[in-house]
């Protein structure tokens, strides 16, 4: 018992003096992003239901935000400001601070495969929250790119006449809706896995709240 305590105590004290695992700006942008992305998703589901891209796939009303199409559109086009402005700050600070390069790279397919197998066998370490494993790196990069695709395809739908290049890039107005929906599905899958992982390693929630 004594030995365990001795091993555990010093790093904890050290942690209080050392810089936080997640800087304050990162924690703020993370939670604002979570709020904006979820509002976008729940209101987007109501908008989707007004004219489903896939007629056999309708999202239950009780899961949606906005009450009716007009309300959902108001939520969607309010949260878009939070998502894009906060997302812009997140990306700019990540690149400028060097956090992006330090946290997410290097990243190799071999590393992802190794860590993925280790995760499945329950052998993946979460001892150092400062260090993302390869699967985490990939997942976070995918969701960052996915959110960018969501914003761009959303812009192509919202302003298909004013942004012709974006519209053609998405394969036209109707196809932009398919892209937007698929990118949403990727984000929804990420949210499920992310929340599950946080439930399995609750300490990661605390570090995202307190920074340590």
């Amino acid at each position: 018992m004594e030995t365990t305590k001795a091993i555990l105590t010093p790093p904890r004290d050290a942690a209080l003096r050392s810089p936080p695992v997640h800087p304050l700006w990162l924690r703020i942008t993370h939670w604002l992003n979570a709020l904006a992305a979820l509002i976008m998703m729940f209101s987007g589901w109501r908008i989707y239901d007004a004219s489903p891209v896939f007629p056999n796939l309708v999202i239950p009303r009780s899961l949606t935000l906005g009450g009716w199409l007009g309300g959902a559109l108001q939520w969607h086009f309010a949260a878009m400001w939070l998502l894009t402005l906060n997302g812009g700050v997140y990306l700019a600070l990540n690149v400028a601070s060097g956090r992006f390069a330090a946290k997410f790279f290097p990243l190799s397919p071999r590393g992802v495969l190794r860590d993925f197998v280790a995760a499945l066998r329950g052998h993946l370490s979460h001892a150092d929250p400062r260090q993302y494993n390869s699967v985490q790196k990939l997942a976070y990069l995918v969701v960052i790119v996915d959110l960018v695709v969501l914003v761009l395809s959303g812009l192509a739908i919202w302003k298909s006449v004013q942004f012709p290049l974006l519209r053609e890039l998405m394969g036209g107005y109707d196809n932009a809706r398919v892209v937007h929906f698929c990118a949403m599905a990727v984000m929804a899958a990420f949210v499920v896995v992310h929340v599950t992982m946080v439930a399995l390693v609750p300490r990661s929630l605390l570090t995202m709240l307190r920074g340590r």
């Binding site: 555990l8 939520w75 006449v161 004013q162 107005y173």
Partner: protein
Amino acid sequence: MKTPDRKIATLDRAAILADARRELDMPSRRLFGKRLLTLGGLSLLTGCSITDDESVNHFLSAVSRLNDRAQAFLFDPNRLAPTYSESQLTRPFPFNAFYGIDDVPEVNGGDYRLKLSGLVTGQRVWTLPELYALPHAEQITRHICVEGWSAIGHWGGTPFAGFLRRVGADTTAKYVGFRCADDYYESIDMPTALHPQTLLTFDYDGERLPAKYGYPMKLRMPTKLGYKNPKHIVEIFVTNTYPGGYWVDQGYNWFGGS
């Protein structure tokens, strides 16, 4: 290969132990964490209860007005909506209104008079033959509904900018408003009214506009969503006082541009 694995497993065990110990020390934090994690917490956001809140509605309406200004800023008066070929037409073109197809108003073309009011100095009453004699233009463009679906249609009529100038409209005014035979009403910004593709439409697919598509005329704007395109127009007015619109007054965004 075995050794690093075992080392990782050992480290993890210690970390999990530390986690468990901390959690047991702080039951309230554990509860907080659990509540935060539940999707049930997130689902509090959903349903219509939050949208019924007065202050939330007020905030969302204010953002919608901000979005009107953002869209006016993004609107390029010279940017044309894409046009399509005859073979890309959506057939049949969908009927869509705030009522069913059986309630489409029957307008008598012989008695019909288009009324102009507000900030106009020229001719204020127009018969259909007079309107049909105006310069003619055709377009095959995409109609985009606020619901998300879209359909390509073929419209014919007279360019609205030319018509506004002909009736001596004050084109420095802010709004052009419309009153319709089906009690629909709508209003648009002046830059969109003057857009080269904004068409006072009398024909659909080479035929007189049928009742279901808005006889005797609709305003066709490929730069705006479907609900902004009024049908069965009986009066057009130019004003600086915000006129609103049938759906807009219920919460749809006023600018409604695409």
